[in-house]
């Protein structure tokens, strides 16, 4: 078991003809992901990486029966691409694109939700169920099927934690990068219930950063609704206030947004937070009774 995606998932790629889109599509194909087509408006009828290209998601879904789309299109065109995806019949949209205007993301999120499409991202690395399906830009080699679910606001930070989980022999059930923007389609609290229900997942790591209260809400959700252990990591203890630290959503607005304040609240709600990335694994092992 896993959540959201598995070996039967059929994937289309919006923006498959771009530099990053084609590079990472090839990587996904190499991993065994069932990429059934691509979407680039105006390039319908062509073939890229041996896959048919369509002018719209609707055409692509009609022709291939895809259930997930992954999107690499530039930020300026992201809203149009997300709206295209919303009405196409897919169930899950993974928006890799960085720099999407917040109001575009909001509007697209509303439309996607109205059509029953779950959005992951934007500004995220995607998700992977190791050994079955990779829909994203994460390096495949560090993942190994296993017991721990991972949800993270940061891409490369997730890889660090995954690497440690894999090296420790724990492995991962599904890893999801939810994105670093202020408005994202799936938050920790949207995904924790799925991991709680998933029979393969025994513990969950949530990896957060400064800005917003999502990690604290996740800890509250854990305390009120979950039986599986959740441990955390929080980036940005040394971040100065008022500065946007790369991610649009990573900014300390008020005292509540700081890493230290969030760590204190999470720990009070029963979610221990590692101070170093390399301590995440030992926290998970302690929760699982592994030494």
């Amino acid at each position: 078991m896993s959540i959201l995606i598995n070996k039967n998932t059929k994937v289309i790629v919006q923006g498959i003809t771009g530099r990053d889109g084609s590079f990472h599509s090839q990587q996904m194909i190499d991993y065994g992901t069932n990429i059934v087509g691509g979407v680039t408006p105006g390039k319908g009828g062509q073939t890229v990486l041996g896959r048919p290209i369509f002018n719209s998601c609707k055409e692509a879904v009609a022709a291939t029966g895809a259930d997930v789309s992954i999107m690499y299109v530039p930020a300026k065109f992201a809203k149009a691409a997300m709206i295209d995806a919303a009405t196409s019949g897919i169930k899950l949209l993974v928006a890799i694109t960085e720099g999407v205007p917040t109001l575009d993301a909001l509007e697209a999120y509303e439309l996607l939700t109205a059509h029953g499409v779950r959005l992951i991202g934007p500004n995220c690395p995607g998700l992977i169920t190791p050994g079955e399906c990779k829909i994203g830009i994460m390096p495949a080699s560090i993942h190994k099927a296993g017991r721990v679910g991972v949800i993270s606001r940061s891409g490369t930070l997730t890889y660090e934690i995954v690497n440690e989980l894999t090296n420790a022999g724990l492995g991962e059930s599904t890893c999801i990068g939810i994105g670093g923007d202020p408005v994202i389609g799936s938050k920790f609290t949207d995904l924790l219930p799925l991991f709680e229900k998933d029979s393969q997942t025994e513990a969950i790591v949530i990896c957060g950063e400064i800005g917003g209260q999502d990690e604290v809400e996740a800890a509250r959700y854990y305390k009120e609704h979950m039986t599986k252990p959740v441990v955390g990591f929080m980036a940005g203890l040394t971040a100065p206030p008022g500065k946007r630290m790369g991610h649009a959503g990573a900014i300390v607005g008020g005292e509540d947004d700081t890493a230290a304040s969030k760590i204190a609240k999470m720990e009070a709600l029963g979610v221990p937070v590692a101070r170093l990335i390399s301590d995440v694994v030992s926290l998970v092992e302690r929760k699982l009774g592994v030494s």
């Binding site: 530099r19 990053d20 990472h24 990587q27 300026k76 890799i96 960085e98 720099g99 205007p101 917040t102 109001l103 575009d104 909001l106 509007e107 999120y109 509303e110 690395p125 830009i137 390096p139 080699s141 560090i142 993270s152 940061s154 891409g155 490369t156 930070l157 997730t158 890889y159 660090e160 690497n163 670093g180 202020p182 408005v183 950063e209 400064i210 917003g212 209260q213 999502d214 809400e217 990591f233 980036a235 940005g236 203890l237 040394t238 971040a239 100065p240 500065k243 946007r244 630290m245 790369g246 991610h247 649009a248 959503g249 990573a250 008020g254 890493a259 101070r275 170093l276 990335i277 390399s278």
Partner: protein, 380 residues
Amino acid sequence: MKLHEYQAKALFREVGIPCPADRAVSTAAEAVEAAKALGLPVVLKAQVHAGGRGKAGGVKLVSKLEDIKPTAEKILSLTIKDLPVRKLLVAPAAEIKKEVYLSILIDRGTRKAVFIGCAEGGVEIEETAKTNPGAILRYEVAAKELQTLQHAKVMPFALKLFSNPKQAAEVADIMVKLAKLFADKDASLIEINPLIADGHDKIIALDAKMIVDDNAMFRHAELEPLRDMDSENQDELDAKAQGLSFIPLDGTIGCMVNGAGLAMATMDTIKHVGGNPANFLDVGGSSSPDKVVAAFRLILKNPKITAILINIFGGITRCDDIAKGILQSLEQMNVPVPIIVRLVGTNEEQGRKLLEGTKLGTAKSLVEGARKATELGGRA
């Protein structure tokens, strides 16, 4: 991007949100002219992107004409939180019968735009939210409704701010216009604190604060001239122009990392092992070798640098691109401090091969890299 009060009010006037007849000036002489035209008393308000300008002496009520020039000169000579005061707003001293708080912003939690109101105006809204959360009013607006918000829908909210129906109708009108302005300009915050009923019982925006979404600036060329270069760090701007994200800090160990979260965690780790990071630097995804060269130039501009830690966990970033960039940098410039490189992830093998035979220090993990950089660069 933050707008100054006078800039936000100019946008308010364009859409018909009532403001005082205030004027922005750059010199004491202009302040005197403005005060004469507006009539005394006036309030002189420093236009800087810093909170607490009143406490810093940047806001003064002046009743006598002869006091305008010295007061204006004094405020224009101020530096508030490292920012020089270059403009003043000369505002007629309004009679305030009642003042409230009104803003519209993106609520990350509910993923909606939301109006925030508080009938106790002129206050620190974050403080009120903690001490008296019941006093905070909320009205959520879906993104697609921002352009077409109905007056009648926001009337109940407005009536909670001003119980007089005529005044509430004026507030509702302002809310409709604010929502449209918010959407048209891709704002992430517009705040009116205070929104007042003046001596004639008219509702006006006495102050204005506005922040525009940086991600949307590509479609707002008209706002670009409003950028206050004083409040921007030149290195940060240069970095941005090259697709990097850079923020200077006060330490000695230069950092070059891919990904914002990992860049923060790298800083945190350096601090944890006893060092002190000199900067936040995210080379971003799909890094070309050129970006690495640009990153080196930025880091080396800081004379306090004693070591550089390059921490790359390749995903969309390819380790061979980074390695090529490191080699190009070493050819193009003198790097007088030790460099520790940690490369993991996409095209890791190709990247490591490229760096074989160089004198660069290497590390297998982030903690090891941070320790080595701190040992070589010294503790802060």
